[in-house]
Symmetry: C2
Subunit: 197 residues, 2 copies
Amino acid sequence: MQYSSDSINKVIDYFSSLPSIGRKTAQRLTYHILRQPTEYVDKFAQSMTEMMQHVKFCSVCLNYTESDPCPICQSHKRNKNIICVVEDPNDVLALERTNEYFGLYHVLHGILNPLDGIGPEDIKIRELLARLSDVDEVILAINPSVEGEVTMQYLSKMIKPLEIKVSRLASGLPMGGAIEYSDEATLSKALESRITI
Amino acid sequence: MQYSSDSINKVIDYFSSLPSIGRKTAQRLTYHILRQPTEYVDKFAQSMTEMMQHVKFCSVCLNYTESDPCPICQSHKRNKNIICVVEDPNDVLALERTNEYFGLYHVLHGILNPLDGIGPEDIKIRELLARLSDVDEVILAINPSVEGEVTMQYLSKMIKPLEIKVSRLASGLPMGGAIEYSDEATLSKALESRITI
């Protein structure tokens, strides 16, 4: 794009470096931003640099936070005897949205992936094991991919000997999902884990 | 999301204000950015504020540019007797990607929309009419929506009396498109504009 402006191209490059944003979407977003008031764009930019300055990891659960420990780990309303283990801070948001979980979290910041050389030392497993005194149950809320299954098996093998209950999220049909359009793996899992009514 | 950090929420809000970015995508993008090096994020933010400082409108074609006139209007390689009229700077990018057009552009920054109260004075039509001495052809490259058709008819009525050729982009089947899956409007347009071979 020889005729395009350098400073526009730079912003397009940054946007297309984000996940799920292709070149054309990045162009559309950049041109949208150009149409906004300068003040608004300056505040947008500032919000990003400020986020990087203020946000750190909670020393207990390793989720992103501005205060340490994070509001969830600090809260008196949360049940400190249950820890829900997730791969990513994103997953904490998703579980909080359910309004059904009132225990604590532990963010692994990754899952085991032998093919990519990601072993137990590369994710926050040591930090999890150090938190397990006084804990009654560990819920493994990890995506049911091949690597996720490996991670859950590994964690369960480490935690069960401590006489702590280890559970995982149920697999089955998504609510509102149609049997006709379900993939085989989901359907056989739903069949296998069928519930007596 | 009572447990989420304020400065993270601010960035999520800004991202979800962008077109085609929903709340969940905005969360995913924000968490992706949090995982990047601070230096990278600072540069991303800086690129946005710098773009707002450096980019202005070309005084000739009204496209975004850092130099005035813009590189296209300045170029000796472009045919100054043809002007391609577009709604948006985005459309200039798309036409430049074809590598088939070597005339100049004129960006209207909008199209006529009587229902929304957008009349000829609200878009850059006056500026277009002021450029038409020495011009042989005006190509109307405006999206074939109802408002686009109205805009093209209006412009054609204004320009034709000046004895300048006015043309518009062909409508028909997109390349690689399947007749079976074409909508009726496109198919009847393709039939109506059929070409003798």
